[in-house]
Amino acid sequence: MLTALIAIPAIGALLVALLPKGKDALAKRAALVVTLIVAVLTVVMALRFKADGPRFQFTEKYWWIKQFGVHYAVGVDGVALVLIVLSAILVPLVVLASWNDAERSGGVDNPPKRSVKTYFALLLSLEAMMIGVFAATDIFLFYVFFEAMLFPVYFIIGSYGGPQRSYAAVKFLLYSLFGGLLMLAAVIGLYVVSANAGHGTFLFDELRNLHIAPTTAKWLFLGFFIAFAIKAPLVPFHTWLPDAAGQAPTGAAVLIVGVLDKVGTFGMLRFCLELFPGAAKWFTPVVLTLSVVGIVYGAVLAIGQVDIKRLIAYTSISHFGFITLGIFAMTTQGQSGATLYMVNHGFSTGALFLLAGFMITRRGSARIDAYGGVQKVAPLLAGTFLVAGLSGLSLPGLSSFVSEFLVLVGTFTRYKVPAVIATVGIILAAVYILWMYQRTMNGPTAEAVKGMSDLSKRELIVIAPIIAIIVALGFYPKPVLDVINPSVKQTLVQVHQQDPKPTIAEKGSHQ
C-alpha cells in the first residue's frame, strides 16, 4: 500500500518527464490524475487505519542493502498517517493551482518560458519523496528520502521562481544539505552504536530499544536535531525559509512550508525524542527557549514585512515555534496539539499561500502596498483569504485554534513561563494577519487593482476543499486526534514522561 503510494507518483513523474515536447496540456492532466489517484488511495488507507491497532500499520520490510544492514521498511503510525494525508491532499490542489504557473514562471519579472512538463514531473517526484519520508521506518531510508527530496524543490525554485530564484535555491539547498550531512554523521554513529551492541541495524523499531551511552546520545541527538531544526525551521536556522518561500512559485511554496518543513518537526517527534529520550530531556530547556524566541521573533518580523509571501513565511516560523514547543513540552496534550498543528498549519498556511499566489499573479507584484481594497473587486478572493488568515491567527472555530490551545495547555502544565510568553504570539498573530488584510483588502480600491478579476472556477475548486477542512477540523478535530493520540502516548512512554498531575486533565491521559 505505502509502496504503491510512493511508486505511483514516482512512475508518474517519469512518464510525464518522458512526454514529447509540446504536450503540455497532457502533462498537466496526467499529473492531476496521478495525484488524484494517490489522494484517493491515501484516504482509503487512512480509513482502514485502526487507531487502537498496533502502532505501525501497513508495514512492509525487505532487505535493500544487506551489507549495510539497510532495509526498505515502511509503515505508518498515527502521526505519519495524518501527515501523509496532508501531503496527498495538498499535492493535487497544488497541481491544479499551478496549472498555468510554469508558463509564466517568475511572474514578476517575466523570465522566458520554462518547460511545463518538467515542472509537473518535479512536483510528482516531490510527492513520492514526501510520502516516502513520512512512511520510512528505516532510518537510512528516511535519510535517503530526506536528502533526495531537496532536489526537486531546488530545481523548482531555481527554474520557476521569482527574480531572486537562483540565490534562494542555492541558499535552500546549502542549508538543508548541511543539516542533512550532519544527520548523516549521526545516522552512521547510530548504526555503529547498534553494531557495537551486537546487531547493526537501521530499523527504527530495533533502534528504539537500543541503550546508548548518555554522552554519545547527546551528540547523536544534536546531529539529528540540527538537521530537523534547519528543516523546520527553528530560529536561528530559519533564514533560508523567507527566501525560499518568497521566491518559489506559489505551488512549491505551499509544499515547502506546508509539508516539507513538517518533516523537521516530524523528525523531532519521531526520532529525536524516541531514539534519544535522555538527551532530548537534557536539551529541552534549550529547545523550549528557541521555540519561544521563534514564536515571538517570527511574529514580530512578520509584522514588518512588505512582501506578502515573505510575511506568510515568517508567520510560519512563528507557528513552527508553537509546534516544537508542543513537542518538547512532553505532555500528551502538547504533542497531540503539535501534531494536529502540523496538519492544520499545512492547510491554513497552504490556503494563505495559494490565495496570495492567485492575487500576486493577477497584480504582478508581491508587495503589500501594491494592493488596497481588493475586497470590493474580488469578494471571493478576499473572503477566503480572510478565513485562511483567521485560521492562521487561531480564531476559535477554525482548525488552528484547537491545536494552538492544546499546545499551550500542554506546555503550561509543565513549563509555565514559556507557555505564557508563547501566548504573546497569538496576539501578534492577530496583528500581522489583520493588518495585512486591512492593507490589501480594505480601504479604497487601488488604481492597479481595479480590473482585478475574482477567483476563477479552477481556483475555487482548489480553495474550497481546504477551507472546508479548516472549518471541519475547527469544530470536530476528534477523528484526527484519535489517530494521533496513541502514537503520541507511545512516544511519551519511550521518553519516560508522564503528564504532570492535572491542573487540567484530559480523560485517558497518562497518569
Binding site: W63, W64, I65, K66, Q67, F68, P112, S115, Y143, V144, E147, A148, F151, Y154, F155, G158, S159, R165, S166, A169, V170, L173, L174, L177, F178, L181, L182, L184, A185, I188, G189, Y191, V192, A195
Partner: protein
C-alpha cells in the same frame, strides 16, 4: 619462495606463475604489439589496428582477472614473492581495467575533425598545415601503446609485494602518463606545461619513494612488505630509520593520490592534459595509487598503525578541506574537478585510516564508484565544445541545461554523485568509508568529512545553477556527440545510478574481495 642467492655465475631463473600474472602480462604484451604495429603497419591502418589491439588486450586481461577471481580463493604470491594475487588486488585490477577501457573510448574518439591528440608538436590546431598533415596520415597513434604501458604499470603498482617492484611499477605507470599529458592538440602550451610540471614533481616524488624504500631496507634488511612487517613487530618500532622511511615512502604514495600537501600538481595537470588522459589519470591512477597505499599500510606497516594513523589523520583532514575549499574559487571545469578529486582522495583516506575490513571493502567500493563517475564526467567535458576546442571556462557552461537538457542533466547527475547525494554511487561509497571510519574510532575525521562534503556541495550546486538557472550565452558552446564518448557517458551514468540504488551486489563483491585480505 627461496631467497635469490647471487652466487657467482649461477643466477637461477626465477619461477613465474604465468597463469596468475596473465592480466598484467597480457596488457604489457598488447602494449608491445602496439609498438610493433606502430613500427610495421602502414600509416592508414595504424589507427584501426591500435584500437583493436588495445581493446582486445584490455578485455582479455579483464576476462582473465575475473577468471582468477572466480577460481579458488585467490590468495597467493607470485613471481618469487614480488607480486601478490589476492582478493583486493584482483578487485582493484579489474576496476582499473574496466576504467581503462572506458577511458580508451575517449582516447579513440575520432569523429570530431581530428583526434584530441596532436600529431606534430609544431602544428597549429585547425591550420592548413595540420590539415595537410592529416591528409598525409600523420596521426598520433602512439598514444595507444603508451596508455597500455601505463595501465600495465597501474596493474602492478597495487599488486607489488615488495617496494622495489612497486617502484618499478610506479615508473612504468608514470613515464607514459608524463608524455601523454603533453600531447593535447589544442592549448599546446598549457599541455606542455602540465607535462613538465607533472614530470618534475613526479620525479621528486619517485625520489622520495625510493629514498624511503632505501631507509626501510636499512631498517628491515629487506624490501619485502611482509619482512618489513615482521621486523616491525619484532622490535618496538620507534627506530628513526623506520619512521623516516615510512614518512618518505608515504610522500611518494600520497603524491600519486594527490593528497594535500602534495596536491599542487593536480589542478595544473588535469587542466592541461588532453581530457581523455585526464579521465584516465583521475580514475585509473587514483585507483592504482590508493590500491598501493592500501597494500603498503595494511600489509607492510599494519603493526605500526598507531604510529602512522595520526599522520594520516592530518593528511586526510587537510586533503578534504583543501580540496573542498579551494574548489570554490575555480572557474575552469577541469580544475574544479581536479580539486574535487583531491577532496575525494581525502574521503578515500578516511577509509584507509579505518584499518578494518569494512574500511578495506568500503575503500574498494568507493574506488570503483568514483572511477566510473569520473570518467563519465570528463567524457561530458569533452563533448561540450566551442570554436577553441573544449569549453573549459565555467561561464561558457551557462544555460547549457536549456540548450542540451540531456547532456547537462547527466553532468548534473555526475556532480550530485560527487557531492554524495543519496541514490547515487557517490553516496553509497561515502557512506561505506565513513561508516568504517566511525567503527574504526575516527569519528572526528568523519565529521570533517561531512563538513567538507557540505562545502563541496556548494560548488557542485554552483555549476548546476549555472547550467540550469542562467540564461544561455548567445555564442555558447555546442555539444558534439560521438558514439564512443556517448557510450562512455552512458556507462558512467548507468553505473553511478545502479551503484546508488542497488549497490548490494557490488558491495558484496567488494566485501568478499576484502574478506580475503591482502596476501603477505
Amino acid at each position: 619462495m627461496t631467497p635469490v642467492v647471487l652466487a657467482a655465475g649461477d643466477i637461477p631463473a626465477p619461477h613465474l606463475e604465468y597463469g596468475r600474472l596473465a592480466p598484467i602480462l597480457i596488457v604489457l604484451g598488447a602494449a608491445s604489439v602496439g609498438v610493433l604495429v606502430e613500427a610495421l603497419a602502414p600509416r592508414a591502418q595504424r589507427y584501426g589496428l591500435q584500437v583493436l589491439v588495445s581493446a582486445v588486450g584490455l578485455v582479455a586481461a579483464f576476462a582473465w582477472t575475473i577468471a582468477l577471481g572466480l577460481g579458488d580463493q585467490p590468495h597467493h604470491v607470485a613471481a618469487m614473492g614480488a607480486i601478490g594475487v589476492d582478493g583486493p588486488t584482483l578487485f582493484i585490477q579489474g576496476t582499473i581495467l574496466v576504467l581503462a577501457l572506458m577511458s580508451m573510448l575517449l582516447i579513440a574518439e575520432r569523429t570530431h575533425e581530428a583526434s584530441p591528440f596532436t600529431a606534430q608538436a609544431s602544428t597549429v590546431p585547425g591550420s592548413p598545415e595540420e590539415r595537410e598533415g592529416l591528409v598525409a596520415g600523420l596521426v598520433q597513434t602512439e598514444v595507444f601503446p603508451l596508455v597500455l604501458f601505463a595501465v600495465g604499470g597501474m596493474l602492478i603498482f597495487p599488486a607489488s609485494n615488495d617496494l622495489l617492484t612497486m617502484f618499478v611499477a610506479l615508473e612504468v605507470m608514470s613515464l607514459p602518463l608524463y608524455l601523454l599529458c603533453g600531447l593535447a592538440r589544442r592549448r599546446r602550451l598549457l599541455s606542455q606545461e602540465a607535462a613538465v610540471k607533472y614530470f618534475l614533481l613526479g620525479a621528486f616524488s619517485s625520489a622520495f619513494f625510493l629514498y624511503g624504500t632505501a631507509l626501510l631496507y636499512g631498517y628491515a634488511g629487506s624490501v619485502r612488505l611482509s619482512d618489513i612487517a615482521a621486523a616491525i613487530s619484532k622490535q618496538s618500532g620507534t627506530e628513526p630509520l623506520l619512521l623516516a622511511g615510512v614518512a618518505l615512502l608515504s610522500v611518494g604514495l600520497l603524491f600519486k593520490v594527490g593528497a594535500a600537501p602534495f596536491q599542487a600538481w593536480k589542478p595544473d595537470v588535469y587542466q592541461g592534459a588532453p581530457t581523455a588522459i585526464t579521465a584516465l589519470m583521475a580514475s585509473c591512477t587514483v585507483v592504482a595509487a590508493v590500491g598501493a597505499i592500501l597494500r603498503v599500510f595494511y600489509v607492510g606497516l599494519e603493526t605500526l598503525r598507531w604510529d602512522w594513523r595520526p599522520m594520516m589523520w592530518a593528511v586526510a583532514i587537510l586533503t578534504m578541506l583543501t580540496g573542498a575549499i579551494v574548489a570554490i574559487t575555480q572557474t575552469d571545469v577541469k580544475r574544479m574537478l581536479a580539486y574535487s578529486s583531491i577532496a575525494h582522495g581525502g574521503f578515500l583516506l578516511t577509509g584507509v585510516i579505518a584499518t578494518n575490513k569494512a574500511g578495506l571493502s568500503g575503500t574498494l567500493f568507493y574506488l570503483a564508484a568514483y572511477g566510473f563517475t569520473t570518467v563519465g564526467a570528463f567524457a561530458v567535458i569533452t563533448m561540450v565544445r566551442d570554436a577553441g576546442g573544449e569549453a573549459g571556462h565555467l561561464s561558457r557552461w551557462a544555460g547549457l541545461g536549456k540548450r542540451q537538457p540531456l547532456v547537462a542533466g547527466t553532468f548534473a547527475f555526475f556532480l550530485l554523485a560527487f557531492a554524495g547525494i543519496p541514490l547515487t554511487s557517490g553516496f553509497t561509497g561515502k557512506f561505506a568509508v565513513f561508516q568504517a571510519a566511525v567503527a574504526g574510532g575516527a569519528l572526528p575525521l568523519v565529521i570533517v568529512g561531512v563538513v567538507s562534503s557540505a562545502i563541496a556541495a556548494f560548488f557542485y550546486a554552483r555549476v548546476i545553477v549555472l547550467m540550469f538557472f542562467s540564461e544561455p550565452a548567445a555564442d555558447g558552446p555546442s555539444v558534439v556527440f560521438s558514439p564512443t564518448t556517448a557510450t562512455a557517458v552512458a556507462v558512467g551514468a548507468f553505473v553511478t545510478l545502479v551503484l546508488g540504488v542497488i549497490p548490494g551486489p557490488a558491495l558484496h563483491l567488494a566485501q568478499s574481495a576484502a574478506n580475503q585480505l591482502f596476501v603477505r
